[in-house]
Subunit: 197 residues, 2 copies
DNA sequence: GTCTATATCCAGATAGAC
DNA sequence: GTCTATCTGGATATAGAC
């Protein structure tokens, strides 16, 4: 692996664990095993490293979403991949929150020019979830429902970070799974007022 | 107002807008109109200012919750005060997120010793919401439902911060109001119409 | 490409005059 | 109680040797 990639990988991890602003070159240098001065052969500034980290996260998540596209037979099974991600990473989430949400929040507070770039990560999930929901046939409100699932995941990860010692994340995960199950089109047993035409 | 109070007030605002770590004494000094050196007559360290800011937020929210206790006739009306708070502060939320959630997230990333103190702010709302729900007669799951409402508010504020230009916060607020309405014990199951469309 | 050495700046914190 | 002046450390960033 190239030194550049090693820097981006270590910075990605440290930005997540300790925050972008709080992470210094000294921290990254120690993690990679190089000297501080060496950074500037690969990056002109700290912001350039942040940009590379965001790009790395984008391509990483993009690859993951494309892999999920090949999972299961139903959009429900694919949406469950998203929820399962929270379960798999529960320990990290409890300690450091959501890698997307916390970065976005921090850059917003710093009024950082790359804040809008972090939004791309959310857009990635937003549109992928929307496509799954559209596969249910719910075209009109697919985007709103996608935002709803994203909102649930952000609420779950934030609370799990506040109360790391409680089983809150698992409860929220179950709520999300139930929500996905309720998305499935089913014959309406009780009187339903709607379905115009 | 004493200089000490002025410092805490300005620090509270700046910590919220720009983050605790990123806010320097120079920023606070300029906002208050005093010199940097004067801080140390009132506080021994920056962490002491943070502690005072958290105490201020706690007593501030406590007073607000006590005021809400006198609002309306039903627990539903009181819970709506909580949701209305998001609506009233929508512009600040879009720009800086939730004052509780973002502080808690930042202190977790910094591994700051006062991180657990920030949790007190969540506990305040958690127990207040729980009491309102218990007033509905739902004793067993009141705490879980309180966490659910807190989770919704955190998801809503985080997404509103990510997508400040969209009307996402208002949609989430409506979802929360619907959720509160569904909490109300209903005599006739016929009147139950959920939005499963 | 990687290193050491250093420049520059700004942070938190201190000392002491008034 | 407030100020100015200063200490000290750590941050980003640069220069130049190897």
């Amino acid at each position: 692996m190239s030194t550049r990639d090693a820097i981006v990988e270590a910075a990605d991890k440290l930005f997540y664990e300790n925050g972008f602003d709080h992470t210094s070159f000294a921290h990254v240098a120690e993690a990679v095993g190089i000297s501080r001065g060496n950074f500037y052969h690969h990056f002109k500034s700290k912001d350039e490293i942040l940009e590379a980290v965001i790009d790395r996260r984008v391509s990483d998540r993009l690859a993951m979403l494309e892999q999920w596209d090949g999972v299961g037979e139903t959009p429900q099974a694919r949406l469950e991949c998203f929820v399962r991600l929270l379960s798999t990473n529960r320990e990290k989430i409890r300690r450091h929150g959501c890698p997307l949400g916390t970065l976005s929040s921090e850059l917003a507070k710093l009024d950082h020019p790359l804040g809008p770039e972090a939004k791309r990560l959310f857009d990635l999930f937003r549109s992928w979830i929307r496509r799954q929901i559209e596969a249910f046939g719910r075209i009109e409100d697919a985007d709103l429902l996608a935002l709803q699932l994203l909102s649930m995941s952000q609420g779950a990860t934030t609370l799990a970070n506040v109360y790391p010692d409680e089983a809150i994340l698992d409860l929220e995960i179950q709520r999300m799974l139930d929500w996905i199950a309720d998305l499935t089109p089913k014959p309406t047993p009780q009187a339903d007022q709607k379905e115009q035409s």
